[in-house]
């Protein structure tokens, strides 16, 4: 375990986030290796975006406990804001859900990328301009020179998201957080953008946390998957294990609601996520779980290895008292 911890670019331990009385993240633990791609999946409200925002230390009106260790920097939650400002854009960076609102409407996209390059690399205006055009080319923006002087509203959704990707990569970060980068886009563009982000992070040897709600897309695109339910990690492990050899009942439900072409029925998990004042003390999924047993309601299951092999426990974990 100790050797693995050294390789981790990011390791989050017992991340808990309170918003008022509500515990919107509960003891979230996960780790991410160098060059690895990790997907956070779950229904909306599961706390996926909260994890990404918490890592960036951009959560407002929230109380955060636990730790998030970035290799070489220590616990992000104990760093000064000054230090955080230096890390953002350089070692950590984030792509937002809707590029249309995440780009400042008052400045041209070239200026937004250019000033970022100037600030991070200490370039002159002319050098930054040149490099911005190169970056625009690498994220697949056609007519990059012409687009430099365009305002965000003059670009299509896909182009806006490409600009966001370029800005996020401007400082060559080790860790890229992509918060549902495709949910505001047309289906045909979604795959392009996901592929682009993966290709660019791999080229640069960066690690990437993808927030997704689509398990199928997650398993195709990412090395590892973390399944969240109502702020708790229910299952985590290598993408294929989680998709094909999952042991948590929620993962099965999540997988079964992926609509496949030719499927006769639309399967949806029954019930809804309980509100925070009615959240069970134990496993938060117990109110909707077909396999729930007596202890589920009042004892929170710990995250334990999903199966043992001859060589020891696999890196596949579940939090369940009655796994499949």
């Amino acid at each position: 375990m100790k050797d693995m911890a050294l390789d981790h670019v990011l390791s989050i331990k017992d991340l808990t986030v309170f918003r008022g009385a509500a515990k919107i993240l509960d003891r979230v633990t996960l780790a991410l290796g160098q060059g690895e791609t990790l997907a956070l999946v779950g229904e909306s409200g599961a706390g996926k975006s909260t994890i990404a925002t918490a890592i960036m230390r951009l959560l407002e009106n929230a109380r955060v406990t636990g730790s998030a260790t970035l290799a070489g920097e220590g616990d992000l939650f104990t760093l000064s804001e000054r230090k955080m400002v230096k890390l953002r854009g350089r070692r950590l960076s984030m792509i937002f859900q809707d590029a249309g609102t995440a780009l400042n409407p008052s400045y041209t996209v070239g200026r937004q990328l250019g000033t970022t390059l100037q600030r991070i690399h200490g370039l002159s205006k002319a050098e930054a301009w040149k490099q911005a055009i190169e970056l625009f080319t690498s994220v697949g923006i056609n007519d990059p020179e012409g687009r430099m002087t365009a305002f965000p509203h003059q670009l299509s959704g896909g182009m806006q998201q490409r600009v966001m990707v370029a800005i996020a990569l401007a400082g060559s970060p080790d860790l890229l957080l992509a918060d549902e980068p495709t949910s505001a886009l047309d289906v045909t563009i979604q795959a392009q953008i996901v592929r682009l982000i993966l290709q660019l992070t791999r080229e640069r040897g960066a690690s990437c946390v993808f927030v997704l709600h689509d398990l199928a897309l997650a398993s195709q695109a990412c090395d590892r998957i973390v399944v969240l339910y109502a702020g708790q990690v229910v299952e985590s492990g290598p993408a294929r294990d989680v998709l094909e050899r999952h042991r948590h009942p929620y993962t099965r439900q999540l997988k079964s609601c992926v609509l496949e072409i030719g499927a006769k029925d639309l399967v949806a998990p029954e019930g809804t996520v309980p509100s925070h004042d009615q959240m069970p003390i134990g496993c938060r999924f117990c109110t909707r779980c077909p396999r729930a047993v007596a202890r589920c309601a009042d004892q929170a299951p710990p995250l334990v290895p999903a199966r043992q092999t001859a060589t020891g426990p696999l890196d596949h974990h579940i939090a369940c008292w009655n796994p499949e």
């Binding site: 804001e81 953002r88 350089r90 509203h153």
Partner: protein
């Protein structure tokens, strides 16, 4: 964009026409006879009639309006019966610059103080500083400006004797002495606007700072001051300019009291004495000048939108 601008300018002329007819008509309906005032307490019917004819006051309303309008556009605004001076010189060349100087000085001062104060209140939301600025702003809006003016004169001019009690020196002739004479009246007139701009800046900036592009700017490592001043304040320009344009009326209204308290020979003081003396033509000149100013500034506000918000540029 050009077409739109021309449309707006055409609209402006329609508004000006309506304002001029209305002000001309309303003044005709006002009680009081200017001829009687001019002639004094004793006069003969013959001299009354001849003066009436001489001034054209015996003509029908529309003829009187048309005559006035044609003359007005040519800069021939008539003679002040009381001041015995050309109104164009008296109102446009002498009074208007005083009011413009006072108004622009106050507005500039209010922006320079109000915007930073509002920005600080917004980023220090719900702290002692914010609460203190809210109390100050409320006091500023509620405090009557004539009382504040008198208090300022009493303290700074009479007690400390560091500012002149009253009077006007044109900053175009003697810049520093002009500014020196403008400080107390400017402070008096701008109090309300400092308060209003502070609150408006705070409210709009708080809303802007919740936008995703602000979080995105932080996420790429922009330092806090840049996030607030470059990404935040840039996007409050439009609501701020809009409200300031509309509040220009309040500003011009405020000049009347301020000019009276500080004895500045501006449009406000001119209008006060003209209304009391029932000098139609002077009142009209004053109303038309303020109307043109108000409508003109709001036209400029309208025309400035595409520069303030790129999304309103229709081309491409």
């Amino acid at each position: 964009m050009l077409f739109k601008a021309l449309g707006k300018i055409a609209q402006t002329f329609v508004v000006l026409f309506v304002v001029s007819v209305a002000s001309f008509g309303l003044l005709k309906l006002a009680p009081g006879d200017p001829i009687q005032i001019m002639l004094g307490s004793e006069f003969s019917q013959a001299s009354y009639d001849s003066l009436r004819a001489e001034l054209g006051l015996d003509q029908p309303f529309l003829v009187q309006y048309a005559n006035w309008a044609i003359q007005f556009v040519q800069g021939n605004w008539g003679t002040s019966y009381v001041a015995r001076a050309e109104i164009f010189t008296y109102a446009f060349k002498e009074a208007l610059p005083v009011t413009l100087t006072l108004a622009s000085f106050s507005l500039l001062f209010a922006i320079l103080v109000g915007v930073p104060l509002g920005v600080l209140s917004a980023i220090k939301k719900d702290t002692i500083f914010d609460a203190g600025s809210a109390v100050l702003a409320l006091t500023g809006t509620a405090f009557p400006s004539f009382l504040l003016g008198i208090l300022l004169i009493w303290f700074f001019a009479v007690k400390l004797q560091i500012f002149p009690v009253m009077g006007y020196v044109s900053p175009w002739e003697n810049f520093w002495l002009g500014i020196y004479h403008m400080i107390l009246p400017g402070l008096t007139l701008s109090t309300y606007f400092i308060a209003m701009i502070t609150r408006l800046t705070r409210a709009t900036l708080i809303e802007v700072l919740e936008q995703p592009y602000i979080a995105a700017a932080r996420a790429r490592g922009e330092p806090n001051w840049r996030v607030v001043w470059v990404h935040g304040v840039r996007n409050i320009a439009m609501p701020l300019v809009t409200i300031l344009g509309l509040q220009l009326g309040v500003l011009l209204q405020g000049t009347v009291l301020t000019e009276t308290v500080f004895n500045l020979p501006g449009v406000g003081q001119m209008l006060t004495s003209a209304v009391l003396g029932r000098e139609y033509l002077v009142v009209q000149a004053g109303v038309m000048m303020t109307a043109v100013l108000f409508i003109g500034v709001n036209l400029l506000v309208d025309l400035s939108y595409p520069f303030l918000d790129p999304r309103l540029r229709t081309s491409k």
